[in-house]
Amino acid sequence: MAGPLTEDRIAAYIATRLDGASDVSVSGLRRIVGGASRETYRLKLRYVDAAGGVIERPLILRRDPPASLIDTKRDVEFAAYRAFYGSAVPVPEMLWLEEDPGPLDFPFFIAEELVGFESSPTGLLNPPYSDKAETIGQRKWSILGEISKADPLALGLDRLMEVPSPDGCWKRELAYWEAEIDKDELEPQPIIRAAIRWLKRNPPPPAQKISVVHGDFRSGNFLYDKEGEIHGILDWEMAHLGDPLEDLGWGLNRIWCWGGDDRRGGLLPRERAIDIWETASGLKADPAALHWWELFNCVKGQGIWVSSAKAWMDGENRDPILIFSAWRMLNAQDRAALELMGKL
């Protein structure tokens, strides 16, 4: 049976991973909001290193919950962060991955905490951040361009992630998310079923390259400051290899238009975001292909939202975010699909 997550338990674990360290302690353990698939905690690590120096470091611990919105592999998320550490794509440093549930009852990983930045998607709509929307938007879509441009084989990610064929990306992704909806839907979803049928009848062209796909690249999953700089891309839990237009389509999804207008992610209009991404990635967003991936992302979103409803109804996870997802997000996702199909 799982016991409480305590500072002493975490310190005991870290002590086993730090060569030559002594007096290892953890303080300030606090759960924070962060990511939908794992519990996220903030803590401060203190220890004496082999040279006798006192080291203090703010850290983040991400632990598997009993039930999640989405089923993801923590080793893949960990590897994706590590692959981009120190690159043009800002990410926090990953420190330890623990697959054994023994130390803290569930698998987890520990990373550096990037301190002092904002992540709220709705925070972008108001001053002082709204005054920097152009700058933040430029950085956001440029960084996605860098992710799309990267060579996943050179990053070594093919060791953990399946490498699809360019013409197999769409089939794999659509099949996966349709199966998620089949498995988890608690009531009929006629709009998204119509979208799935359309996507099957009108397949996209093969991917122009196989890219790293972040999987959840949107406002809310990066850390920003008042000057408009982005300091960390977070939540790589759905990372995989595939068509780079998948990520672009997810970020452009209308459900992230919290301001109610065309500013995607509350920052820049759709066409401007695409221009920035194309320039940064050196790739092309063919309009018909991008349309397919935008509609596909409505299916993916609905897969997540119906799974949220099921997780809540099953009683495995009663976080109120799941109700919000099951009601607001699911309906907004239907409206996004209707808009893309020219019905709204």
Binding site: A194, F324, L344
Partner: protein
């Protein structure tokens, strides 16, 4: 009964967001309380309208299903549609209305899959009516002040 459910839940949600949440020391608990308040606001809105939107929607779908014979659906689907179209909402409990709605929307989806790729006028007319109803269904489920 007065005060009504919507007023009560809306007030409690406001208290949670504006009075209780700001006093919580844990950022996670404060955030969770704020989110709970937002969900309660949605519950207040949905609770007031659920029966109305389900009755309205069930009635609209039955009307479409009643006209479905013109599109010549396969025998098993046609029989299912006839049964559903002849039904009604005598039991106004939300659970009963929702169960009927699930059956009706599933049949509507199957009917659309049957007609959506056909070029004949009957199928096109029916498909347009189904799309119109699906658009209306998202309007019935939309919440106030929630962006897109």
């Amino acid at each position: 009964m007065t005060p009504d459910t919507r007023s009560i839940i809306t007030d409690l949600a406001g208290r949670m967001a504006m009075v209780f949440a700001p006093d919580l020391k844990s950022p996670y608990m404060a955030g969770s309380a704020g989110l709970t308040a937002a969900v309660l606001m949605m519950v207040a809105e949905e609770g007031d309208r659920t029966a109305h939107r389900l009755v309205e929607e069930n009635r609209a779908i039955r009307a479409i299903l009643t006209s479905a014979a013109t599109a010549d659906p396969p025998a098993d689907l046609a029989a299912r549609i006839r049964t559903l179209a002849a039904g009604g909402d005598d039991d106004l409990h939300v659970s009963a209305l929702q169960a009927a709605n699930n059956e009706l929307r599933a049949a509507l989806s199957d009917l659309q899959a049957h007609v959506e790729t056909r070029a004949d006028a009957a199928a096109k007319t029916l498909n347009a009516a189904i799309w119109s109803e699906l658009v209306a269904s998202t309007g019935r489920r939309a919440f106030s002040n929630m962006g897109f």
